[in-house]
């Protein structure tokens, strides 16, 4: 495991340690284009981009990575269940005798789609509402905050069953919905807290004094300074969403055989973990790599947005 992690970590070590030596853009541009200019020159960003590129390629063209098609049932041989790593099965076989490597490769698509879409939806929904509530305060804040309190307390199984009752089937999008409905309040609270803090900062007061419009203050001054903790939460959410997806499957809301995903693989391998750890460890490793890539990306974006580092 450490073997595989090392190359991915390297860019990060180098990236954070070395101060960005890139030259500045020729003339003053907007904050966001500044950030983008800066970003492209960061090893941290480049490393995460490469890693994400590989994962996305895996999701889009799995056949480039393996010649075995895990959707062909003939490739599973129950008699060969829980075999260790071998030439034929690089990552060993799972409880049903299927090849773990090809399933990890083919599972990338569902897992990434679920993880990313849910993360984006939660971050946008929770983030925007949190920004509004924190910035405006008053009645809007009261209303939104009370609503989140109800949502927080809805048991996840109840939310999932409700989604199932409405859609009567399970696929990537019902999973996304079920996870997002229950997860946005956390992002909301984090964003709201960050905005409340940022609102009192001198530069915001200065911008107000200068007569800047409310949207301008919100998006130009507060958001870039408040987004850091939301990025942290979003990147970790990404991992927990990918893993949590499997939990919905047993209720009928999630993916189901013959669909493949990392979450399902991890969940299916849990009970026999002591006998056969690899069917769990390999998808978990790829899940970790995905989270790692986005944590690096998040760090890079945050650094780029931070004017103090320029």
């Amino acid at each position: 495991m450490s073997d595989t992690l090392a190359p991915a970590e390297r860019p990060q070590n180098g990236g954070v340690g070395g101060h960005p030596g890139a030259s500045r853009p020729p003339k003053a541009a907007s904050l966001w284009s500044d950030a983008w200019y800066d970003l492209r020159r960061r090893p941290l960003f480049v490393g995460s981009a490469v890693l994400i590129g590989v994962l996305v390629a895996m999701a889009v063209f799995p056949s480039l990575f393996t010649s075995v098609n895990p959707f062909d049932a003939a490739t599973c041989d129950l008699a060969q269940a829980r075999q260790g790593m071998s030439a034929a099965h690089r990552f060993g076989t799972d409880n049903l005798g299927c090849d773990v490597y090809s399933r990890v490769v083919y599972g990338a698509r569902n897992s990434l789609v679920i993880g990313l879409s849910t993360t984006v939806v939660t971050a946008l929904l929770g983030g925007l509402l949190g920004l509004l509530a924190g910035f405006r305060g008053g009645a809007l804040d009261t209303l939104l905050s009370r609503i989140t309190e109800i949502f927080f307390a809805i048991p996840s199984i109840l939310g999932a069953l409700l989604i199932l009752a409405i859609f009567r089937t399970g696929n990537v999008w019902t999973v996304m919905l079920a996870l997002a409905v229950l997860a946005w309040p956390l992002t909301y609270r984090i964003m709201r807290a960050a905005v409340i803090t940022a609102k009192g900062q001198d530069y915001v007061l200065a911008a107000r004094a200068l007569g800047a419009s409310a949207p301008r203050i919100m998006f130009r001054h507060i958001l870039p300074n408040a987004v850091a903790s939301v990025i942290v939460v979003a990147t970790i959410n990404l991992g927990t969403f990918i893993a949590a997806e499997a939990g919905l499957s047993f209720l009928g809301v999630g993916l189901r055989s013959p669909d493949i995903s990392w979450g399902l693989m991890i969940s299916d391998a849990r009970e026999r973990f002591l006998e056969a750890p690899w069917p769990l460890l390999f998808p978990a490793l790829f899940l970790s790599l995905t989270v790692l890539a986005f944590i690096m990306l998040g760090d890079a974006v945050r650094d780029a947005l931070d004017p103090k580092l320029r």
């Binding site: 599973c76 129950l78 049903l96 047993f250 209720l251 055989s257 009970e271 006998e275």
Partner: protein, 543 residues
């Protein structure tokens, strides 16, 4: 019926059962007490309900009641019913049965056990107004229909006319039709008696009683059970019990929500007996417990069923046979269940008389023939396979799906249901067109119990005939078996009925259950009986 054990919820999945309780009353930590007072600690899942015989149809509650009540009949090593509380159970025509009781049995409160106690309990359980889950067990008794007039109608009597007290220790049961297996049936939980004190002023069983049932068996409750707070049920030997008594004085059922956890507790020395090891614990149990690991046959059977009643997809028996032959039962039992199941080759479990090894020829794995026969008979291109995900079924269902995909060249959709009732709902609404898993654990050890409740026409409405399969010849053979004068003669007819099942394959038998357990160094002589209950009279404390 006693399905809870088979359907034991796995930790990751749903958790129907719940254990409770802030108040620690585990005796295991008491270091100063003499070893003679330490209880034998037995693993138990959370009982679904409070305890009274007529409403306890799941394995965990039944296990507790079996320690507190003594049955009319028990079962010997040859699986024959032998009298326990009954002095004799006799009938000339299999229709009118006379039951007389042995003298000397008393309730835990000292009252004498009488024939009236049986009649009261059975009439109570059979009355639809009392909504007892064991109601159906009394449907063979004459007069049951009067107590069950149907939805919305009022019950005009409180007694079945087929039940008559002859004298203090004798009662007579008249059945509406002859039934040769009646005596065998009487070992089941539902047929325990109830004392007068169980009933309140309104004629209903009181909650007080259900929390601390007074029985006539060899153990009695120490205190009322607080469902929702207690993590153990503590029993003490009832020394006035006239029959064979256990050799130790205290029994403690410890409640667990996960059988893996219970196994870890056993390994750590906090538990003495665990009789439902999960497949994931088998390898460890064998190596760590050696002689103290139990592996024995269990009377349960698992099937894959077809929605025969309304769906024509599976109408061709050749298609059903092909599906059956495409399933590699041997490897599933070995790899998925680590040997805690055995491949099925009959509709009747090997533990019982009437089983014939290899009776089901199409239950043998033959991928080539399966593929050819399936194609030749135009089997459907897409199959659906449903299971309830609150039990340990996902893995074997997926394995079956893989077998079908590989050997029949079909697309198989696997459909998880939140719980088994979900499958039943869709079958009732005739909206589910797929195959479904199904399991059966016997209520009483008779080959007949694998046939009537699952496949008879009458069981479509009141029993567990979820396939909705109906066959007159089969029904007629059951009736002949029921009215046969001897057990052997009855068995012959039941086997002929079994032959029809094998010919028609309304369900596909997949595996037979096995019971796997382990016990600590504190005890010896642990044996599990036909109904999956520990024989407490055989258990001894070691050292």
């Amino acid at each position: 019926m006693r399905v809870t054990k088979g359907a034991r919820l796995t930790a990751g999945a749903a958790l129907l059962a719940l254990a409770l309780a802030a108040c620690g009353n585990s005796a295991s930590s008491g270091g100063g007490t003499a070893s003679g007072d330490l209880p034998v600690r037995m693993e138990l899942g959370e009982p679904q309900k409070l305890f009274h015989p007529g409403d306890t149809t799941e394995s965990e509650g039944a296990e507790v009641l079996a320690a507190v009540f003594a049955p009319l009949v028990g079962y010997d090593e040859n699986k024959q019913a032998v009298d326990e509380v009954a002095e004799s159970i006799e009938s000339k025509d299999n229709r009118v049965w006379t039951v007389s009781l042995k003298p000397g049995y008393t309730w835990h409160d000292g009252a004498k056990l009488t024939a009236q106690n049986y009649v009261d309990a059975w009439n109570y359980a059979a009355n639809q107004d009392n909504a007892q889950s064991a109601n159906g067990f009394f449907s063979r008794i004459d007069g049951w229909a009067d107590l069950n007039p149907g939805e919305g109608k009022t019950v005009s009597t409180k007694e079945m006319k087929g039940l008559k007290v002859v004298d203090e220790s004798t009662f007579r049961v008249t059945l509406s039709k002859p039934f040769s297996q009646f005596k065998t049936m009487l070992g089941y939980t539902a047929f325990y008696p109830l004392p007068k004190v169980a009933f309140g002023a309104d004629g209903r069983i009181t909650e007080e009683y259900a929390r601390k049932p007074i029985g006539q068996g060899y153990f009695q409750f120490d205190k009322p059970f607080n469902k929702g707070t207690d993590q153990s049920i503590d029993l003490t030997r009832y020394d006035r019990f006239p029959g064979k008594k256990p050799k130790f004085t205290k029994l403690q059922f410890k409640l667990y929500t996960s059988s893996e956890t219970a196994f870890n507790d056993l390994a750590a020395g906090n538990l003495d007996i665990h009789d439902s090891l999960p497949p994931s614990a088998i390898a460890r149990a064998k190596s760590e417990f050696g002689e103290r690991y139990l592996d024995q046959a269990d009377a349960g059977v698992a099937y894959i069923g077809f929605p025969m009643q309304y769906n024509k997809t599976y109408a061709n028996v050749k298609v059903r046979e092909a599906i059956s032959m495409a399933i590699d039962r041997e490897t599933i039992a070995d790899k998925v269940f680590s040997g805690t199941r055995a491949p099925a080759d009959d509709f009747i479990n090997p533990l019982l008389d009437g089983y014939r090894a290899g009776a089901c020829a199409v239950c043998v794995y033959d991928p080539l023939k399966a593929g050819e026969q399936y194609t030749a008979n135009n089997g459907p291109k897409t199959l659906e396979l449903g299971y309830n995900s609150d039990g340990p079924h996902k893995e074997w269902i997926e394995a079956v799906a893989n077998s079908l995909r590989a050997n029949l060249g079909v697309e198989v959709k696997v459909k998880p249901f939140e719980k088994f009732a979900g499958i039943l709902d869709e079958l009732d609404e005739k909206t589910y067109g797929g195959m479904f898993r199904m399991g059966w654990a016997i209520d009483y050890p008779s080959a007949e119990n694998y046939l009537t409740p699952l496949f008879s026409t009458i069981a479509i409405k009141t029993g567990s005939n979820y396939a909705g399969w109906s066959n007159q010849e089969f029904d007629a053979l059951l009736a002949k078996g029921d009215s046969a004068r001897t057990q052997e003669e009855g068995l012959k007819f039941y086997q002929q009925a079994d032959d029809i099942l094998i010919r028609e394959m309304p369900y596909i038998p997949v595996y037979f259950y096995r019971t796997n357990g382990a016990f600590s160094q504190n005890v010896k002589g642990v044996k599990i009986d036909l109904l999956n209950q520990i024989k407490w009279t055989e258990v001894e404390k070691a050292g």
